[in-house]
Each structure stands twice: as C-alpha cells, then as structure tokens.
C-alpha cells in the first residue's frame, strides 16, 4: 500500500514571511507551501481562529486579510505576506468588546462557540462596510459560515442589535470594571 501514497517529507523549502497580525508585526520563516490557518494556529499560536473542516466548508477559520474576510484554511500564507491580518483576538479594544462580541453574548449568538470567531470576524467586516445591514444582507454575509447550534436566528438578531449599538453610539462596558458589590449599603 505504502508505495501508492504521496510522501510527506522532506518538507518544502523555507521562505521569509511577515505580516501584521492584530496590529503586531510578525516575521518568521515558513515552509513555502504553508497555509495561513496553520501558520496562525501552529506557528504563531493564535488559537482563536478555528479549524472546523480545513476545506472551505464551515467558515470557522475566517480572518480579515487587509480588511476583507477570507478563509484562512484555503489561503496560502504567502498570499498574505505583508498583509494586515485580523483574527477574533483583534476585534476587541482592550477590555472593551466590539459591539458584535457584546451582542453575541447577550442575544444568544454563541452556543458552543466554536463557529463564533469565524462569524464575528465576518460580521465585523460587514458592519465596518455597512453599519445598518438589512436581514438579507446579513444572511448573505454569513452564508459561508456554518453553525450547528444556533440555527443562525440568534446570530442574525445579534447583528441587528450590534448595528443598533453602532448607529446609536451606545457604549460597551469594560469587562474589568468593578461589578456587583457583595455588600451593598441599604437605606434601612
């Protein structure tokens, strides 16, 4: 049987590679045929981007490359050389969540959460281009993302809610703000 399969070694030659990942300049050496998703996860340890199928059929691996949503599992790392890459880790501003992150938690956009990074990245790009998308536009934007838990409905709700926040300029919390006091005063 052995002789019929393709050998996996020796590895491809290495090349220099650099990109700005979530605002941090990264430069490293990669095998020339490396896939962006593998680079993010296995070389750079950016594990927020998920691998659901590795074949373009789930959208869990979505990242923004120069602002445009792309499937990192079907992208040669070399094509992203020198680009700005944003993953789910790059969406929030410190401890302030991006509105879509916030509304995903509040509207049930995320159940098991495995598809969530992909959705968030794609939706953040949508809202960046179009802060007030119609239901049809929302659905078209997420047609390349698979979610097995939510049935998408609460995801669409989350986008509408986030669009609300964006259009009305409502605030999002800092998650490190002090929360409930276990010992609130009482006026007797």
């Amino acid at each position: 049987m052995v002789q019929y399969r393709l050998p996996m070694l020796p590895p491809s030659d290495e090349v220099d590679w650099g990109a700005s990942v979530n605002g941090n300049a990264v430069s490293t050496r990669l095998e020339s045929n490396a896939i962006l998703l593998d680079v993010l996860r296995d070389s750079l340890g950016i594990l927020g981007t998920k691998r659901g199928c590795d074949m373009g059929t789930c959208g869990c691996c979505s990242v923004l490359v120069d602002g445009s949503p792309r499937l990192s599992c079907l992208m040669l790392a070399q094509e992203a050389n020198g680009c700005e890459i944003t993953t789910v880790e790059g969406l929030s501003d410190g401890h302030h969540l991006h509105p879509i992150q916030q509304t995903f938690t509040e509207c049930g956009g995320s159940q098991c959460g495995f598809c969530t990074p992909g959705f968030l990245v794609v939706i953040s790009a949508l809202l960046g281009e179009n802060p007030e998308p119609s239901e049809g536009e929302i659905k078209s934007a997420i047609e390349g993302n698979l979610c097995r838990c939510t049935g998408y409905q609460q995801i669409v709700d989350s986008v509408k809610e986030a669009s609300n926040i964006l259009c009305n300029g409502a605030n999002v919390d800092d998650s490190t703000d002090p929360k409930s006091d276990p010992h609130p005063g009482f006026s007797g």
Partner: protein, 328 residues
Amino acid sequence: MKMPPFQLHSPKSLEEAFSIADELSSSNREFDWVAGGTDLLPNYKWHLNVKPDVISLAGVSELTLLTDTHIGAMVRLHDLAESENTHSLVSAAAESVASTLIRRSATVGGNLCLDTRCFWFNQTEDWRESIDWCHKCDCGTDADCRVIPNQNTLCVATYQADLAPSLMCLGATIHLASKDGERSMPMGDFFQLDGMTRNVLQEGEIVTHVTLPDDVSEWHGDYQKLRQRESWDFPEAGVAVAWKKTGGDVSDLRVATTGLESIPGYHEEESRLVLDDWRGEESVDLLSESVRKSVKPVLNTWFPPSYRRKMVKVLTRRACSGLLEDSK
C-alpha cells in the same frame, strides 16, 4: 491537514511567471498554477495529483483588469459579482458560486479551469486507498474508473464550475498566453474531453483574460443552477440562456450547460433549430426537451443523473422565462 511538500513560486509579473514555468519545464519538473486556491488547495490537501512545484498567480498584477468587456483571469468572483460593469448574466453566475467567503478568494481563471469532480475522486487519500484508487489519480496502480468500469482510459468526472455557460452564451473569447506567445479562441473551444484533459491549456500556458464582444449589452439572459443548498454547493446542473431581440422578435438565442458532463455544453444546434421557427412558449418547451436529450450526466455527484437530466429541462425553461416575458 498538511499538504504534501511542494515549492510555491510567487512571481510578480507575467514575464517572471513564464520564466519560472520555463525553468521548471526544462528541468522536467511538473507544476500547477494556482490562483485563488479554492479548488487546488482542497485537492492538494487530499493529495490529489500533487505536483512538486506550484506557481501562484496571486501577485501577477496584469491579470486583474475588469471592464465591461474585459475580465482578467485573476479577478475575484466577489468583485465580479459586485461590479456594476459586469453583465448581469455573468454576475448572476458569479454570485451563485460557493459562498461569499470562497468568492473573496476564488478567481475567474480558476473557475474556468476548475478541475472536474467525482465522488470517487474528491476524497482523502485514506478514502481513495479504500476503493483501490481510480483512474484519474491512480497513483501508478493503473486503477480503473469507478463510474464506468472496465476501461482505464477515460475519466468522466463532472465539470461543475458556474461561470463558463454564461460566458459562452455571451460569445466570450478566452485568451491564453505562455512564453511562446498568446492565442485566443471562442470559450466553447477551450474545453476538451475527458475529465482529466479538461481543456486545451498546454504546459506553461495560462488563461490571461476573457473578453466579451462589443454587442454584449444587447444580450439578455438568465442562469439557473440546480443544487441542494443555496450556499457552498456546486452546480448539479446549470443552464445559461442568452438572447438578443430585434424589434420584439428573438433574433438570436444561445444555450449552454454545466455540471452535467466533463466539459460544459454549448447547445448551438438545439437553439438554432427553434430559432429558425420561433413559436414562443412552444419553442421554449422544444428547446428544453432537446437540451435535456443532449446531455448525459453520470452518477458521480450529489444528485442522481436521471434527476439532473430531467431538471435540465425545467432549468432551461426557467432560464427562458425572461425571454417569454419580454416578448409579451
């Protein structure tokens, strides 16, 4: 899913691309071109006919021009679908491809040159080993075709790309280039049987662009795609129809299909027959029936061939609905 090793070359210009190709050819190294990679990379991940070298066209800027009559090979389907310059028949076809995320990467050239598909073939290496391989990727075993057995000369894998039929109907010309020069031909002549040969491209040759004739804006048409789901799924059958009218009469009509055989079908004869004696709805029925008869799908995609064939008739009729409406 790590791919088998290969060297990726990233030329910045056509010239550089051709010279890399030339170099590889002269040292007898096989190679593939890669554009958006949404077809080649899944195939490579599954170890399908992996070559030791791959030349990426992503950095070649000459190939990205998009006007109303010129579509560069490296134009992304997302841009093609969104562009206001694109003929509506082409943008409709482009928009129906895969999913929005895939269309951000997918290119026109890659779509036209899409590898043929077959469920005995588009599988992992482990899986294909379990059926003792097949002719298209026999790994040196001389394996038979699993669809039409007892012949190991022909592959009947299905061409399932969406763009070709619409472009064919609009009378597009495809332009190829290699270090030896350029050539062009009507879109229909580009494709060549069988499922392994696919098209006329010679080693080292690429598709550079597609042009549409100047009268393209006078053509109207529709593309109908049969699939299970409205995202991701390849066409199980696709029918494009384009027509031209002079004074309320149908003066020209073209029909092309995809997803049914190893190359897209251009149904010149069928459309000519009805055009000669145009009788409105009746002609549409006749046309649909004759297109149905002319295609011979096999069992290697998601829907059974008998169903796909029957649907060709429905799709053709539906693609013509605009034609009839207009003439009312």
